[in-house]
């Protein structure tokens, strides 16, 4: 394994940071994108090294918010700025059209129903903008934020959800927080934070056909390890990201947290501006021009210094498949399952052995011979229109393998669903024997009824292959939408590039 573990050292840089910050206030030269975002949101630098950071946008879902709302209520506090908050239920919502048809009352699981209703009640009481379960804008928080323009370049964005890093693709500082901090942001519009270290992940060259942003980020995690980014904010730079669509950048930043980094980000360029322009909540007219002038500064200066730089060559990256129970346990589809016997580090060796046992795999087994039971195309990582198109391209004119029990496509939002249906993509999936569902988090974390049964194996476009993540005893292999679709057709993992070639 190539994993690289960096020891967490929370305080070593604090003094250095304070001095550096003072210097930066004098001169704007040599700043990273992260420096700029931090600096523009700094309310107060305290003597003890901590800082008060202003939060522009607070995204809320039903799972990590009820205790925060209750805390506010118990303390007699009100939200500091109600119009900074946007909410939508996503984790618990059912995805079958039947269960969705009667809204929140139709949720079969009584505990899930209470949680979604609690979000509705809290938002109604406080006047918080919420896209309720059957609002056409409802969806996974990290899909909804960017596509509505609720999340914009230059913002600080938080949510009680680790995948908030997704929004950094807009050129924003976005990161996940716990429920106590959800309450803190609601009450104060700020977070007490300490500046992270900065890492540049530079991927130059060109991606080959069939190689997607998901493969890029999995390859990065394979390189630096699941804790490689701990303590850092990662900026993704280089030719590969410059030519990548916003959807692709959102996928990459989404998984920064799987490399241990709370925040991932990409500099603002024409692709960002083109994406943001005319989004419902984006500034318009003269305000747009003013915003663009500010956003055009949102890139690292040429002489900016990073605490760590990692370089990969895009043309070396192949379609990836995870084989274990951590996202760093990943290899190109052409490889074989690793052998713990050749690992010298005792802790890593034990991890590989435990992973192979849990996953029901043998050392040396070719990844392309691993047969799957289910396919899940969705999640905040890969449920945007481009992901759906990419899977549909593979599926078109083909049929799901009979051995695959279920292949489901769960669009990330009502808007993605409508767009895909307008393009006829739902029909392509249905014709191939794939199910087309209503938007939500679904089988990424299996809080609703969409889940794996014990021992079932899934080709999944989600972000975590942890034990039990997609269902008790379930086995997850993380792949791109194209690779998941290809596995659904073949019944086992296959290099999607071969399938695309043979089909044309």
């Amino acid at each position: 394994m190539l994993s690289y573990h960096k020891r967490y050292s929370p305080d070593v840089f604090s003094v250095h940071r304070i001095f550096r910050l003072q210097r930066l206030e004098i001169s704007m030269a040599g700043m990273t994108l992260y420096d700029k975002l931090w600096q523009s949101h700094l309310v107060l630098q305290r003597d003890d090294g901590s800082a008060l950071i202003y939060i522009d946008r607070h995204i809320v879902h039903e799972v990590t918010s009820p205790q925060a709302f209750e805390g506010l209520r118990l303390a007699g506090r009100k939200p500091w700025r109600v119009n900074s908050i946007v909410a939508t239920p996503d984790h618990n919502v059912p995805t079958t059209p039947q269960e969705r048809s009667s809204g929140v009352d139709g949720i079969a699981d009584p505990i899930s129903k209470i949680q979604v209703k609690t979000l509705d009640e809290n938002c109604d009481e406080l006047g918080i903008l919420e896209f309720k379960i059957n609002d056409h804008r409802q969806g996974i928080v990290h899909v909804v934020g960017p596509e509505t323009g609720a999340c914009l370049p230059g913002m600080t964005i938080v949510c009680g959800d680790s995948h908030t890093s997704t929004n950094g693709a807009l050129g924003a500082l976005a990161f996940g927080i716990g429920t106590s901090e959800v309450e803190h942001v609601m009450a104060t519009q700020c977070l007490v934070a300490k500046k992270m270290k900065s890492m540049l992940v530079q991927v130059d060259g060109q991606l080959g056909p069939g190689v997607t942003p998901k493969d890029v980020v999995l390859a990065i995690i394979g390189e630096i390890g699941t804790a490689g980014g701990t303590g850092y904010a990662i900026e993704f730079g280089g030719e590969v990201f410059r030519s990548m669509s916003m959807e692709g950048r959102l996928t990459v930043c989404n998984m920064a947290i799987e490399a241990g980094a709370r925040a991932g980000m990409v500099a603002v360029d024409d692709i960002t501006l083109e994406y943001v322009k005319n989004k419902p909540f984006a500034p318009k007219g003269a305000l747009w021009d003013k915003a663009v002038a500010e956003w055009s500064q949102l890139h690292s200066d040429p002489d900016a210094k990073f605490d760590r730089v990692v370089r990969l060559n895009g043309s070396d990256i192949k379609p990836q498949v995870t084989w274990g129970t951590s996202p760093e346990m990943v290899l190109p589809v052409s490889e074989r399952v690793p052998d713990p016997a050749v690992e010298s580090d005792a802790v890593k060796k034990a991890s590989i052995e435990r992973a192979l046992q849990y996953m029901g795999l043998n050392a040396g087994q070719p990844i392309s011979e691993i047969a799957i039971d289910k396919v899940f195309i969705g999640s905040c990582t890969n449920s945007r229109i481009e992901d759906i198109r990419s899977a549909a391209l593979v599926v078109k004119g083909r049929k799901k393998a009979p051995s695959v029990k279920l292949a489901m496509v769960v669009p990330g939002s009502g808007q993605v669903k409508a767009q895909a249906e307008a393009e006829g993509l739902d029909k392509i999936f249905r014709d191939a024997g794939f199910e087309w569902r209503e938007p939500g988090c679904s089988m990424c974390l299996a809080m609703n009824a969409d889940r794996l049964e014990p021992g079932e194996r899934c080709a999944s476009t989600s972000n975590r292959n942890f034990e039990g993540r997609q269902g008790y005893g379930g086995r997850t292999h993380l792949v791109s939408p194209a690779m998941a679709a290809a596995a659904g057709i073949a019944g086992h993992f296959v290099d999607v590039r071969q399938l695309l070639e043979s089909g044309q």
Partner: protein
């Protein structure tokens, strides 16, 4: 919040790297809208032989006899000893809530995931980072000695072994202050409300698009 000053506690092992928050508290328990009730389901998938569900009577469920936290010698443990990158994955604060309710007050590891690390401090739980080789030594001593205890002193920033050998650890000054005194940091931040308002007024002027979101 509970304060944390000095703890002399029984140590229990979680001898694996990358323990994620899904493993600490599985997703089905996150449907609760309460802040309590997670302790009996901490490490649910490792701890019991059957699948846990909300509302199930945990006292009648079959325990996994091979899971160390079920061993008689580790009952009553308040310090969890573990490996690299503990608490990775989801931001769910239900993870520290579950560990706290189980009875842990301190977790010792070579490294922690950032969000989990942060969440611990909000709940009176102290995450201690010690070098990997020291953690390995502690594991050896723990396995060799039944009733193995450590002393964790936040004021001094030390972990002391039964033989008196002491290891110092780093802790952020602000977090230390809050934890030693059991302070609610919302109250502390609101003491700076004037600074927040001043920042906001300035920003509203220069970047008004950040302040309007209405249907």
């Amino acid at each position: 919040m509970k304060s944390f000053t000095r703890l002399v506690g029984l140590v229990a092992p979680m001898d694996r790297a990358n323990v994620d928050t899904d493993l600490i508290i599985p997703k089905q328990f996150l449907k609760s809208i309460a802040r309590t009730g997670f302790g009996p389901n901490a490490f649910d998938e490792l701890r019991y032989l059957d699948k846990g569900e909300p509302g199930k009577d945990n006292s009648t469920r079959p325990l996994n006899p091979d899971f160390p936290l079920n061993f008689p010698r580790y009952q009553g443990a308040s310090i969890l000893l573990t490996r690299e990158n503990f608490g990775c994955g989801s931001s769910r604060e239900h993870a520290p809530w579950a560990l706290d309710e189980y009875g842990f007050r301190c977790i010792i590891a070579p490294s922690f995931a950032d969000i989990f690390f942060n969440n611990c401090f909000k709940n009176g739980l102290l995450p201690v980072v010690l070098p990997a080789d020291v953690v390995s030594e502690l594991f050896e001593e723990l396995y060799a000695n039944e009733g193995y205890q450590l002393t964790v002193d936040l004021e001094q920033q030390t972990v002391t072994r039964p033989d008196g050998k002491s290891h110092s650890f780093e802790v952020d000054a602000f977090r230390k202050h809050c934890l030693l005194n059991g302070l609610d940091d919302i109250g502390l931040t609101l003491q700076d409300a004037d600074h927040i308002r001043a920042y906001e007024a300035k920003r509203r002027e220069s970047a008004p698009w950040l302040f309007g979101i209405t249907e």
